[in-house]
Amino acid sequence: MEHSKHIWRAALILLFGVVGFIVVRQFLIPKSFGIAGHYRFDALAEFMAQPVKHGGRESCRKCHEPPYETTSKGKHARVSCEVCHGPVGDHASKEAKIAVMPKNPSYKLCAYCHQKLAARPKGFKQVSFRKHLEEQGFASDSKIPEKICLKCHEPHDPTGAAGN
């Protein structure tokens, strides 16, 4: 058969193609791809390796026992320190201080939770700031002073001894 070599040539090209495909595929597809599904299984470990920034109240206790105790006794016992002060991961590393913890003395911080809103649950403590200030004898015709809440309330225990 004179023309059989055409078939062999085509077959050879196909074979090279197939082998090339498999070889290239081995390099392009990550090792852990397809172990538990159509994805790279190693990605899970990468997600797990991300740093934890929020340590919770207990992580603050090691160095800040007094405010921890005050807060635990008061109405803010369920408010994590990091809600107002930011994550411990930005403040300390391996039990050493790396940055100053922010303190926001503004009434706006209080307003996040306690500004009177129709959508808030009725049983939750909330105030119309201007009205509340008027009731407490503060002139409220001008701009509300930033640190006004701190005059009466201690944020760690807002209704306790330091508060009203």
Partner: protein
């Protein structure tokens, strides 16, 4: 129609398989055999992929890190709408924990006000991150509430089904994740998500979304948003742990999901949700 049993279905392949160096070689040999038998290229690709998975399943030995086994958990999220005060602590905590770029959100809070008009008033200024301003007079609504939202981590998620590169996936413990190394940033998944939970990261140019704080929950910590919630409106649990409080509520109490008509099987459940919520 909601698949109530969704979080309790077992995950196929409880044994964590390993990727030993033997397997790819085996697969290649197997594939060559098939090629000799004259299987066409397209079938071939599928067969290789399936076989690698099957082989790995058979191997049955757990990979490094025995501490956390993703096959032994199934994470569920529970939001109690009647408790949410709309303070936005969750949004701020998520932003700091996961370095979420400004004006993008992995979780956000919406305020719903049902007035006498045809549609409810819904607003979410900066995702609720900076709190909510007082309602205008006459816009308080006869019914008003906050709805915290996150990725629903759907069991039958539209977002992973169309990922062309296998970057978007559902982990064995029921968390929808994006492999940033593989993602090409095409944005198909962003369009596919019916809940608007995904975005293209403005710096990395890959799809980004809520990870259920995978780095935290795998260490036994709650997600950052759950830890930050001062009123316990957000809760997190393991559907495979029968003693878990959240798991028990999901199993025994009436809960609701967002857009149940889409049959996406969300793993984020709502308590006390009103039908106006979309």
């Amino acid at each position: 129609m909601e698949d109530k049993s969704a979080p309790f279905n077992s995950v196929p392949g409880m044994d964590v398989p390993s990727a030993s160096s033997e397997e790819p070689a085996m697969t290649r040999r197997e594939c060559l055999k098939r090629s000799a038998q004259g299987a066409c290229g397209a079938i071939f690709v599928l067969a290789c992929g399936e076989e690698l998975g099957a082989l790995a399943q058979m191997a049955g030995t757990p990979p490094e890190g025995e501490k956390y086994d993703p096959f032994k958990h199934e994470w569920v999220y529970l939001i109690d709408i009647s408790k949410c005060i709309g303070c936005g602590s969750c949004v701020r905590a998520c932003e700091r924990e996961n370095n979420v770029p400004p004006h993008y959100f992995r979780t956000w809070v919406e305020r719903y006000r049902i007035t006498d008009s045809e549609h409810p008033l819904v607003d979410s200024p900066n995702g609720g991150r900076d709190g909510f301003g007082p309602e205008k007079h006459g816009e308080e609504g006869r019914k008003a509430f906050f709805v915290p939202k996150i990725c629903n981590h759907c069991k039958f998620s539209p977002c992973t089904q169309l990922c062309p590169v296998g970057a978007s996936f559902r982990s064995p413990d029921g968390v929808m994740l994006v492999d940033e190394e593989r993602c090409i940033g095409c944005g198909y998944c962003v369009q596919a998500c019916p809940y608007g939970s995904r975005f293209i990261h403005p710096v990395k140019h890959v799809a980004s979304k809520c990870t259920f704080c995978y780095h935290r929950v795998t260490k036994g910590l709650p997600t950052a948003c759950v830890a930050a919630c001062p009123v316990g409106a957000r809760r997190f649990g393991d559907a495979k742990d029968p003693d878990d409080e959240v798991s028990q509520i999901v199993a025994t109490q009436p809960t609701h999901v967002l857009k149940p008509e889409l049959l996406t099987g969300p793993h984020c459940r709502y308590l006390g949700m009103s039908m106006e919520v979309r």
